[in-house]
């Protein structure tokens, strides 16, 4: 149950962006989770909603992208998706590969919507 701490970190990162863009309202936050990251998506969504509820981020949309485990073959350099822990390179059948993706836990973006059109007009260059 560390999803609560993860959810809190996401909201904190969004609040940091809000301070940088005070005239905008965050509507969506994008998250990348690797399948080896030990994060339960449903539990994370539950914690995220519980923490955001009743705050100015209550309507923030959490967009989660699950990343597959990928390896790069040490012999032929081919990159491939690992399924069912099968590490055999599909090209040269070598087993000497290294993991290059699959344990992500990253914030990829925040989508902001401009709240007050008058402010936007005032900020636009002449």
């Amino acid at each position: 149950m560390h999803e609560m701490g993860i959810a809190n970190s996401i909201l904190e990162a969004v609040r940091t962006e809000m301070r940088r863009y005070p005239a905008s309202r965050p509507v969506k936050v994008g998250l990348k989770i690797g399948e080896m990251a030990a994060i339960d998506e449903e539990s994370l969504r539950f914690c995220f909603e519980a923490l955001a509820n009743g705050t100015n981020l209550a309507h923030l949309n959490l967009a989660i992208q699950i990343c597959q485990r990928r390896h790069r073959c040490g012999d032929c350099g081919r990159e491939f998706v690992v399924r069912d822990y099968d590490f055999e390179c599909p090209t040269c059948h070598s087993f000497s590969s290294t993991c290059i993706a699959g344990d992500e836990l990253e914030l990829s973006y925040v989508e902001l919507k401009d709240d007050e059109p008058s402010t936007v007009g005032a900020e636009s260059p002449q």
């Binding site: 993860i6 970190s9 996401i10 990162a13 962006e17 080896m36 994060i39 590490f87 990253e106 973006y109």
Partner: protein, 228 residues
């Protein structure tokens, strides 16, 4: 609509503190290990027997994490090495800040090895870097050979798997070879050891691993320093 790219780790604050801990460990030649397992697989017993086997003048310290009670620290303090309990008060893992806080009054230049015994949990501790040189996953022979497949994240990140309670092997239907095979399906280069913290079987191999791995850590450190 305006999309602002973030490209940052969710746990960037933890990672920042962990990186500074790792720097401090390097600076003082402290070899730090993070022991992770499910509750009851024998991390504390493993440490007890390990501390008992070390010479009295060894410069070793232990941080032990639990949700509640000082019980583990009481058990481990008996060996005379600096030991501190971290009670998380409900949190299911240790994070880098807790380590930083509990190291505050220890002089790292007086230490060679720091053992961190994480909260018993095979899931959450795997997400939190504590600045350690290596993660060790402990599992016991009463837990089932498929544990690595059920909890892949920690087996993916640990460099050593210690199979504990091998004294029970005659009494339980557990295939240690299959368990190691499963661990290597997740992590092909996993180093595996079999020990019994009750009888001491396998401890010479474990202590040997400890010594050699610490040596390679210090050598790596030397290379880092030598480089311009």
């Amino acid at each position: 609509m305006n999309r602002v790219p973030l490209e940052q780790k969710v746990l960037s604050e933890n990672d920042r503190v962990a990186a500074s801990l790792r720097d401090r460990f390097r600076q003082h030649d402290v070899f730090c290990l993070n022991l992770i397992s499910s509750p009851g697989s024998g991390k504390t017993s493993l440490l007890e027997r390990t501390l008992a086997a070390l010479p009295k003048e060894a410069r070793v310290a232990v941080l032990t994490g639990d949700i509640q009670t000082e019980n583990d620290a009481v058990r481990l303090k008996r060996f005379g090495f600096p030991t501190k309990q971290i009670t998380t008060g409900g949190t299911c893992h240790l994070d880098a800040r807790m380590i930083d806080r509990h190291l505050a009054d220890w002089d790292l230049s007086q230490l060679d090895i720091l053992f961190i015994e994480n909260v018993g949990n095979l899931v959450c501790p795997s997400s939190y870097d504590l600045g350690e040189a290596a993660k060790i996953v402990v599992l016991s022979v009463t837990e089932g050979e498929d544990k690595p497949l059920k909890y892949p994240s920690i087996f993916f990140k640990a460099e050593l798997m210690i199979m504990n309670k091998t004294d029970l092997l005659p009494h339980v239907p557990f295939d240690p070879d299959l368990c190691e095979e499963n661990a290597r399906r997740i992590h092909p280069n996993m180093h595996c050891l079999r020990v019994s913290s009750l009888t001491g079987a396998g401890f010479s191999e474990w202590l040997q691993w400890l010594e050699q791995r610490r040596k390679s850590y210090l050598e790596l450190q030397l290379e880092t320093v030598v480089q311009p």
